[in-house]
């Protein structure tokens, strides 16, 4: 019997609303943060016209979260007879999260709700009288508690006959339950630096109006959530091994849960699998030589069904508030889908593990094949049906791939160990779908458009042909757009740009240990996928506002006729000339700059070689330790030291060019002492 009890409490404080990193990368550098006298510089935010300063915003708003958790578990094992034993284990965990976020009346966020800048109008003025939130800010509180317990029982029977045949049977059952309770409330009138009080709000605004509207911030109601989800499962495993060399096994498992609206007939759908393993290492004809130290071959096959979660065969309604009648009413959760079949997946795995030269070189190779039929996808349907989309059984998907890894330990002595590991994997995905999705150009650029004969995650881009000599706007080759086929399928007039998921990934790890000093590192390579760079501007139809920061690629833009011979960067968008909406034959309007952002010159090869980390550590040998110290060790690590990417990025930081944050490099140094 064993038991375990643990708990933790953690508190985090952070920012809310304005994301500092996003702000720093998008903001115009020419805007100062401080005035000449040192006070903060405020400018009118382009979003809402009220004064804004990022430091002020961050200082007067924030969030805080406290999480406490408690976990306990008990395991019991009872040997009933020599062959049969019974295990039971119970675990329980409870966690509570208390969170709050707040904005004080000095923030730009609250200025928008109030209707004027902080301090602009005094009590008694018309603006003050008509404001919904004359004083105070906003406070959001939330409280969540989750408890869950899990109880597992299993009965094992293991028997060995004649020292050669070994049988084992395992029968098990598991029950688990999770309960969640939540409470959320948004309140107004909060003044954090004056005793954290809440001031009153006017019930009506525009009191001189004949029919003054009610202030919607006056009464706020909490949102309560409560849910309980229970699962019951069973499983059975049978296995047989002959002489430690040949092993067969089979297993089956079923789960049922209490999800609302499910089809009861589809509970406990079994998942079953069977497999075979051959340990060549134990074969008599392999003994007594040092070249092939061990090898094993394994094959397994499995089958499972998957029921779509959010769909029900019956009519399900949800209870919603009816504001006008001070009552509740029912709303449809979704139309019933009684004819929807569940997804069926079968998979086959074949693997080999091997090691040579007394384990100096070891590795494994695994090939997998997975086929899913009756995939459930959401298909967009015409608006005449009153719903946006319907789940349908949309076809088959076959995934195959392989994974290999090799490890070398060329040197292994008492004082010196050198080992290297290499992993490769390659994925092959083919999708055959019987549903014809709408092939608009927007779909084609996302990687979600599945076209027969093309790999999954293929995407297409507009064919860029150059810049217009008169105004520097981007121009494209859209031959085929006016044809009957082109109206339905955008890929007719777009160029195939590649696929978004990599073909091939490989990793290399290296570690060296000399006495008490060790060094390790890893490299990662990914190949075979392409991506669009992030669009070069936010708005496709007008010049960016003076507050926005822009990428340096715009320095090379077209400025006068003739420049189109030297550059591919178009001129700044002008509503009257180059950014004019282009009337496509299908009456779909396209913006030239949107097309530019999704054209083939914005596609980059997304391969990379990245070094994940370099770390080393050193433990002081005992003889050098002063008295009283039992152990002393140092460690150093550098994360994301370097990355090599394709030349398509032309020197820009690839992470930022793709729309993200640069990779964080971190150096850490540690000392550990124990007395």
């Amino acid at each position: 019997m064993s038991t375990n009890l643990s708990g933790s409490v953690g508190k985090t404080k952070g920012f809310v609303g304005t994301d500092p990193f996003g702000y720093a990368s998008k903001m115009n550098r020419a805007i100062p943060a401080y005035n000449e006298d040192g006070s903060r510089f405020f400018y009118k935010s382009a979003d809402n016209g009220y004064l804004f300063n990022v430091e002020n915003e961050l200082e007067h708003s924030g969030t805080e979260n406290t999480v406490s958790t408690l976990n306990a578990n008990v395991n019991l094992r009872w040997r009933i007879t020599d062959d049969i034993s019974f295990n039971t284990s119970v675990s329980y965990s409870a966690s509570e999260t208390n969170g709050s976020s707040w904005y004080s009346e000095r923030t730009n966020y609250i200025a928008q709700k109030r209707g004027y800048d902080y301090g602009a109008f005094e009590a008694g003025s018309k603006e003050f009288e008509n404001s919904k939130l004359p004083n105070g800010g906003e406070y959001n509180s939330s409280h969540n508690s989750a408890t869950s317990w899990n109880w597992r029982n299993s009965l094992d029977w293991i028997k060995v006959l004649n020292g050669v045949h070994s049988f084992s049977v395992m029968l098990g059952q598991e029950m688990s339950s999770t309960q969640n309770n939540g409470y959320k409330l948004q309140s107004y009138g909060y003044i954090p630096d004056k005793g954290k009080i809440f001031v009153n709000l006017p019930a009506y605004t525009q009191h001189n109006a004949v029919d003054p509207p009610v202030n919607d911030m006056y009464r706020t109601t909490p949102t309560l959530t409560e849910s309980e989800s229970n699962t019951l499962s069973y499983y059975l495993t049978l296995s047989y091994m002959y002489d430690n060399r040949y092993a067969f096994n089979a297993s089956v498992r079923g789960d049922g849960n209490n999800r609302f609206g499910q089809d009861k007939k589809e509970r406990f759908l079994p998942v079953w699998a069977c497999g075979f393993r051959w340990n060549l290492g134990y074969e008599p004809w392999l003994q007594g030589q040092n070249i092939l130290s061990d090898m094993s071959v394994r094959v397994s096959y499995g089958y499972q069904g998957n029921v779509a979660e959010n769909v029900s065969p019956d009519l399900i309604a949800t209870i919603v508030e009816d504001k006008e009648n001070y009552d509740y009413k029912l709303a449809l959760k979704d139309l019933p889908a009684p004819d929807l079949k569940w997804e069926k997946t079968s998979n086959l795995n074949v693997g080999i593990d091997w090691s040579f030269f007394s384990n100096k070189i070891s590795g494994s190779f695994e090939w997998y094949w997975k086929k899913t039929t009756d995939l459930v996808t959401e298909l967009k349907v015409p608006y005449e049906h009153g719903v946006d989309s319907r789940p349908v059984n949309g076809g088959k998907m076959t995934n195959t791939g392989w994974d290999a890894n090799v490890g070398f330990t060329p040197v292994r002595t008492k004082n010196f160990v050198l080992s290297m590991g290499l992993t490769f994997s390659r994925v092959n995905n083919k999708l055959k779908s019987t549903i014809e999705p709408n092939k608009t150009w927007k779909e084609a650029t996302t990687g979600n458009l599945n076209k027969d004969g093309y790999p999954v995650t293929s995407f297409w881009a507009f064919k860029f042909t150059g810049l217009n000599p008169e105004h520097g706007g981007p121009e494209f080759d859209t031959e085929g757009i006016e044809t009957e086929e082109g109206l339905k399928d955008a890929t007719v007039y777009m160029a195939y740009a590649g696929k978004m998921e990599p073909d091939f990934t490989t990793g290399l790890t290296l570690s060296i240990r000399y006495k008490t000093f060790s060094l390790s590192s890893g490299l990662y390579l990914s190949l075979g996928n392409q991506q669009f760079m992030a669009p070069p501007m936010d708005s496709f139809s007008s010049i960016p506002s003076e507050y926005e920061n822009m990428s340096t690629e715009w320095l090379d833009r077209w400025r006068k006729p003739g420049d189109e011979k030297y550059t591919n960067v178009p001129s700044l968008p002008d509503k009257r000339t180059n950014a004019l909406k282009w009337q496509a034959p299908s009456t779909e309007q396209m913006y030239p700059y949107a097309m530019y952002a999704y054209s083939d010159i914005r596609v980059v090869d997304a391969w990379y070689i990245r070094c994940g980390s370099i770390s080393c550590s050193y433990t002081m040998p005992e003889k050098f330790l002063p008295n009283g110290l039992q152990n002393m060790s140092f460690s150093f690590s550098l994360s994301n030291p370097f990355q090599i990417r394709s030349k398509d990025f032309k020197g820009r930081d690839p992470e930022v060019a793709l729309g993200g944050q640069p990779l964080q490099r971190a150096i850490s140094l540690g000392v550990s002492l124990s007395f």
Partner: protein, 520 residues
């Protein structure tokens, strides 16, 4: 000892497996399986009756009519300024008005919202027979709910065919394209709905309205008297409206009669100055109270404080003066007329439709040319609906049309009786004079008067003006747009212009390749 242990083990295991059923019983905080008629009623209220936020489609067409004009050049309030630019495409009848309004958005509510509620009505009709019925009362309630669902479905299709199809009385309705008819809630993903002809649409609407009204009339119960729900009187009123559009004069009169016999009252404006014509509590005139949006961005219908950039046109305001005899005062409008010192001016009277805005419009906020004060239509805070006034107007128009075709002066007199009755309730009793047949040179002049009265009474609500313009011959309308420098551009909608039929939004066409766009 071993026995004991095994017994405990078996007990343990049986507990583990026995708790199954209760443990796995369905659980949800807010989800339910509708099983009773009461559930269906709540589902009808939630899914077939529209909410305030979806109510834009009930009066969005005002911006296309001659009741509307642009009177803001530039507004410091960015919300108003954006609205002006966003709605410009509708104001100038652009045939891509729903696709992209300069800010990348697309407005598909006129198509999407009615179909969403048609789905709700269809769900009720498809599943109501599966519900548990509670005795005779339950049966009555069930049939009434079924009737409500039919009438609502008919109403939504009626709106759709009048938005996106040619008017019934123009050309050949069996050839003109209407809208797809959706009469079941199921969705088949391999077939795409096709547009039915205008005649087929009206046939389905007629069938739904007749059946729904019959069911409600035969199964009247308590719940059906709620003002926010429809009853057989509303069904008859809708039938009267539909037959008017189909130019079936006799049936228009019959159905108007059937409502007005049961509820003939009109609100007397002079005696009820503080009552809004529409409210959720109803009044003697209201048959049904429908939710309406109160946002600042609804054409014409806005509060006196926020000025929607397209407000009541001079043409509409002048119509109120047209048929007044000397000394008559129309209480539906407040106008400042220095020549007539009897005009009350703005005195906070709630019942008045057309009211002046409260602020003068010079200075920082607005730069305007021409009109100094603006007028808004205000019929009730977030409520609109159906009322008996419309039926009087329907009946009067039908009688006049019959008079024109058959020449019976009794028909003309019946029409004048209705119109006079309406005017008596709307004009100040001091100075009110009844109209006589001799005031009009012929049936056409009488018809024009009736149409003007209809325009005055039903301005700014329920898409009436746009639908009436369409069936009254699609006359030429001019809109003058003021751009941000005050420069005036003129846009003309020609007589019988193809743009009297709204374009189907591109996003809708994209989803359904079998849907054909209207011809322009």
């Amino acid at each position: 000892m071993k026995n004991m242990k095994t017994k405990i083990l078996i007990l343990f295991l049986s507990c583990a497996f026995a708790g199954c059923d209760g443990f796995l019983e369905e659980q949800s905080q807010t989800e339910v399986r509708p099983s009773t008629i009461f559930d269906m009623e709540k589902l009808l209220e939630g899914e077939a009756y529209w909410t305030e936020s979806d109510a834009v489609f009930t009066d969005e067409t005002e911006i296309f009519t001659d009741d509307n004009m642009c009177n803001v050049v530039r507004d410091k309030n960015t919300q108003i300024q954006n609205l002006k630019e966003h709605d410009k495409y509708k104001y100038i009848w652009s045939n891509t008005m729903f696709n992209d309004n300069g800010d990348g958005s697309s407005d598909i509510e006129l198509w999407q919202t009615p179909y969403k509620y048609i789905k709700g009505a269809n769900v009720i009709l498809d599943y109501i027979d599966d519900m548990i019925v509670d005795g005779k009362e339950g049966e009555v309630r069930r049939e009434h709910l079924r009737g409500e669902a039919f009438v609502l479905r008919g109403l939504y299709h009626f709106y759709l065919v009048n938005f996106f199809g040619l008017p019934y009385n123009y050309g050949d309705p069996t050839q003109n394209l209407g809208v797809p008819l959706k009469t079941n809630s199921g969705v088949t993903t391999d077939e795409y709905p096709k547009r039915s002809s205008v005649a087929e649409c009206y046939k389905q609407i007629e069938q739904d309205l007749l059946e729904g009204t019959r069911l409600m009339s035969a199964n009247r119960d308590e719940a059906s008297t709620k003002i926010k729900r429809i009853d057989y009187l509303v069904g008859n009123a809708l039938l009267s409206r539909m037959y008017l559009y189909m130019e079936n004069w006799d049936k228009t009169i019959d159905y108007a009669d059937s409502v007005l016999i049961a509820q003939p009252d009109l609100l007397m404006f002079s005696e009820n100055p503080n009552e809004y014509i529409y409210s959720q509590y109803g009044n003697c005139e209201i048959l049904w109270a429908m939710p309406s949006t109160f946002a600042a961005d609804i054409p014409l219908v806005s509060s006196r404080r926020t000025q929607y950039p397209y407000t009541a046109s001079n043409d509409l305001i002048n119509t109120f003066n047209k048929d007044l005899a000397v000394g008559e005062i129309d209480l539906r409008v407040m106008t400042q007329d220095e020549d007539n010192p009897n005009y009350p001016g703005f005195d906070g009277r709630n019942v008045t439709f057309l009211q002046t805005g409260g602020e003068t419009l010079y200075g920082d906020n607005y730069t305007k040319l021409g009109v100094v004060e603006y007028y808004v239509i205000y019929k009730g805070y977030k409520w609109t609906g159906m009322r008996t006034a419309e039926l009087y107007l329907n009946r009067a128009e039908a009688y006049i049309q019959k008079y024109i075709r058959e020449g019976n002066t009794s028909d003309a007199q019946a029409a004048l009786d209705d119109l006079n009755r309406l005017r008596r309730h709307r004009l100040d009793p001091n100075g009110f004079t009844e109209k006589m047949l001799s005031d009009y040179s012929d049936g056409w002049a009488l018809l024009e008067f009736c149409w003007r009265e209809r325009r005055r009474e039903l301005c700014g609500e329920g898409n009436h003006r746009w639908f009436d313009l369409r069936r009254q011959g699609m006359p030429q309308i001019t809109h003058i747009y003021l751009d941000n420098t005050g420069f005036q551009s003129e846009y003309v909608l020609q007589k019988e212009d193809s743009r009297y039929v709204l374009p189907i939004p591109q996003n809708v066409l994209d989803r359904n390749p079998d849907l054909k766009q209207n011809k322009y």
